[in-house]
Amino acid sequence: MNYIPHTKEEVKEMLKTIGVHSVEDLFSDINEELRAKSFNLPKGKSEFEVKEYLEKLSQKNNLSLISFLGGGFYDHYIPAVVDALVSRSEFYTAYTPYQSECSQGTLQTIYEYQTAICALTDMEVANASLYDGGTSLFEGLMMAYRIKGRNKFIIDGSLNPIYQKMLFTYTENLPFEIVRTPYHIGQVEREKIYQNLDEETAAVILQNPNFFGTIDDYTDIVEHAHSVGALVIISVYPISLGLIKTPGEMGADIVTGEGQSLGIPLSFGGPYLGFLACKEEFVRKMPGRIVGATVDKEGKRGFVLTLQVREQHIRRQKATSNICTNSALCALRALIFLSVLGKNGFIELSKLNYDKSEFAKRVFKEISGIDVLNTPTFNEFTIRLPMDANEIVKKMTKKGFVPGLPLGKFFKDMKNYLLITVTEKRKKEEILKFAEELNNAINL
């Protein structure tokens, strides 16, 4: 199967026009010693054969268990309208909107997406998207470095451990001092941050809710940071923002996060959506594409990629970032999701997630042998089991449940800890059955 329309006759005609005998002649610049040593690929197949094979593969993945798995990536319901609209090929087969007159569709959706992110986070400006929440956080860190000209960063140890690993990989060869405060299931111990906060600090990096599910109000940390001229970067979880205090309300300077829970499928790890928002005064230091509203030569409103001089294709090695391709289609998904949920629907969804997980917490508190370790929380919480969490995971999967994320894989002294997430997709009877089976697994 291939998508090449040429007939033999057409190829002959074209070769004649070019003035060569065969297509091989067009490759004559490349001498023998440079030619491919091998090209042992399987024979091409028909759609039918490939579909059969990949369908079988997809069925080798087990989706039959009732899942309480989260950890920064969540199973929320995606309304049918999202896929339907994003499947319009005028959206997904279009390119980056560099030619504004024939890309007003994409450009307007990006402007609306930027507005939506600002509305969620209470920040003043947002960019057109980055790859994911982790690279977004790194870009936020680099922004703080550019703005402050300082190279010390304080990272809260309860930030998503995968994002922490990514930050360390990216900053390995850069002249930065990164101080990581000890992780904590509950709220941040302010002293641990303040004892490192000084006039060399570019930024303090926090997460809300933290990786363990705990929510907090970081306004006091922001005030302390600002008093020494440091910035605060907060990584947030969008669904929580229907209910909990926004980073904008706390006074954050830069906000990043993972937008996967806004209508983007889990898809085994990607593609996802990194969002980044900040205060207006930092807009020219913001990486990534940005769409602005303007007028055309007749005064009609239109949209255009703006402040492009910061980007790699113009500024090259002095660019704010090396990013080119971003996550535009995922940003469109998020925009449609938020539009079709609307202000009220979004708040309702947020509340529903909160109610469900609070209910689960209450139920779990009744199970003997389990300690529910944190409050207040949103959507997920951490429990301590009387034995290795992996044992419980094995038992529970046999009973039809994915009980949560065993934390021993990330934190050495948490072998008995489990991170449990309850979204709006979990029914009351599933939660009760889960608790019953967990009780059996522990106590019988």
Binding site: V20, S38, K45, Q108, Q114, D122, Y170, S267, V340, K428
Partner: protein
């Protein structure tokens, strides 16, 4: 067109949220509560559908228009691969299931493993990682690998060499990695000036980043010599795979001296561009660099697929999980569909199409490098510029004629550049129509340039005021204060 926010009516609802079957929880303590409500739209589902459907009509796309954007490989995106990515066994899979049991994700792990192996064979590299989330991300990852390699061998490196025709991401990625960029000018044949290269090459150079064919669509016949010199100086060779569409099956970067290569799945392997993303930028390496690859890696053990979560010298995590799996899946399906002969055909017809356009247009526009090109070529509009019509004007007129313009003003070593890459999926008919219009433009420049200057005239907006957008950035919609006042007045009257 109105914004979705401007279509809001207070109280209007869209999708219905499920009823709660659990008791209401105790309210969150005031100090942690959001004090305002998010200013999201309040519209019905039909409003949303009409809004976005109408917006989609305002775009040019591959599915509606010829899109000869040089360097972007805007080939047809198969509908079949879209269908594959929606298979629930893949789309609903939580990435953390790897922490529960690898038995639950064997299908997904097989996709990753097999795709890596196919890409190795296509590029001649020894191992692949699919983790980078875009081409530039792949460049960054590749440079991190190169840095780790040099560090391991006790070498301290300061520089990365790039040709002046290189893509901006090459320099930007180098800078993010802490390197200084040395730019080598191109010679009169459009290839990296060998003499200058030899002069600037020193033992503090970490890598030489090249794309082949280069951004002018020209294959550098001295590539092996360039690689040998680099290796002698202790530098590694990095292949920017943006232009792989020209040489699949003919040349493999791994065979001609490259140590690291990135591919753009959203270019060569037909995954859709999505209006700017998401893409995927997998990285291939020679075995000397394999131990530094990011984790986790998929390996086969006793007939099962297993994740190796730590490698002693790995650079660590560059992505949250295994890469943009949804994109990788589409590329895998594409490679399976096309197979060996299909992929060979791709490059042959891509190069045929580009040379056909080049031949038919060279009498009307200046061709700075008048030789056989590969899958793309660069025209200069300098003849037309003398008459006051610039590449930008020609681009805008092409829009009126239903063609997405070629890439403008890149590479910047060519004055008034238009970089044209037709790709293999375009028919002779389409190419002939494009040639006809380009010839018409050349004629109009002589006879009636005004028509071109005022283009576009058929699009929803005319030439956009970019200066205003940059001087007074308006980057988000805000509720107008007057609206709020109006509402207040009405309440008082009641």
């Amino acid at each position: 067109m109105q914004l979705i926010f401007e279509k809001s009516v207070k109280g209007r609802k869209g999708v219905k949220i499920p009823y709660s079957d659990v008791p209401e929880a105790e309210e969150i303590s005031k100090e942690y509560k959001r004090t305002n409500t998010p200013s999201l739209p309040e519209v019905s589902e039909l409003d949303v559908v009409r809004h976005f459907t109408r917006l989609s009509h305002l775009n040019f796309s591959i599915d509606t228009n010829f899109y000869p954007l040089g360097s972007c490989t805007m080939k047809y995106n198969p509908k079949f691969t879209e269908e594959i990515s929606r298979l629930e066994g893949f789309s609903k899979l939580h990435p953390f299931l790897s922490f529960i049991s690898e038995d639950m994700i064997q299908g997904a792990l097989e996709v990753i493993y097999e795709t890596e192996h196919l890409l190795c064979e296509i590029t001649g590299m020894d191992e692949f990682t699919l983790e980078p989330l875009a081409g530039a991300h792949g460049e960054l990852t590749g440079l991190l690998l190169i840095t780790a390699f040099h560090k391991y061998h006790g070498k301290k490196k300061k520089y990365v060499i790039v040709p002046d025709s290189s893509h901006g991401t090459n320099s930007a990625s180098s800078a993010v990695c802490g390197y200084e960029v040395i730019v080598i000018p191109s010679d009169k044949n459009g290839c990296m000036n060998l003499k200058e290269y030899k002069e600037k090459l020193n033992d503090e150079v970490a890598a030489v980043m090249l794309t082949s064919p280069n951004t002018l669509g020209l294959f550098n016949p001295h590539i092996k010599e360039i690689a040998e010199l680099a290796h002698k100086a202790g530098a590694l060779m990095y292949y920017d795979g943006a232009n792989l569409n020209a040489i699949m099956g003919k040349v493999r970067p791994g065979d001609i001296g490259f140590d690291v290569a990135h591919l753009n799945l959203h270019k060569t392997f037909a995954t859709p561009h999505g209006g700017g993303g998401p893409g995927a930028g997998p990285i291939g390496v020679k075995k000397e660099l394999a131990e530094f690859l990011p984790v986790p890696r998929v390996i086969k053990k006793d007939g099962k697929f297993v994740l190796k979560k730590s490698l002693p010298h790995s650079i660590g995590f560059i992505s949250p999980f295994y890469g943009n799996f949804g994109v990788i899946l589409k590329a895998y399906a594409y490679i399976l569909l096309l197979g060996k002969s299909g992929l060979l055909s791709v490059s042959e017809h891509a190069v045929l199409n580009a040379n056909y356009l080049r031949t038919c247009l060279k009498d009307y526009y200046h061709l700075p490098y008048d030789r056989t090109c590969m899958h793309e070529f660069v025209l200069s509009c300098r003849k037309q510029a003398k008459k006051g019509i610039h590449a930008l004007d020609i681009a805008k007129y092409l829009i009126d004629k239903g063609f997405h313009p070629p890439t403008m003003y890149f590479p910047n070593i060519v004055e008034e550049a238009l970089m044209i890459e037709p790709t293999e999926t375009e028919s002779k008919q389409t190419l002939d129509k494009f040639i006809e219009v380009m010839i018409e433009i050349a004629r109009l420049v002589e006879e009636n340039p005004q028509i071109i200057k005022i283009a576009p005239t058929t699009t929803i907006v005319r030439r956009i005021n970019e200066v205003k957008a940059a001087r007074n950035p308006d980057l988000r919609w805000r509720e107008k204060k007057t609206e709020i006042l109006k509402n207040e007045k009405t309440t008082l009257a009641e």
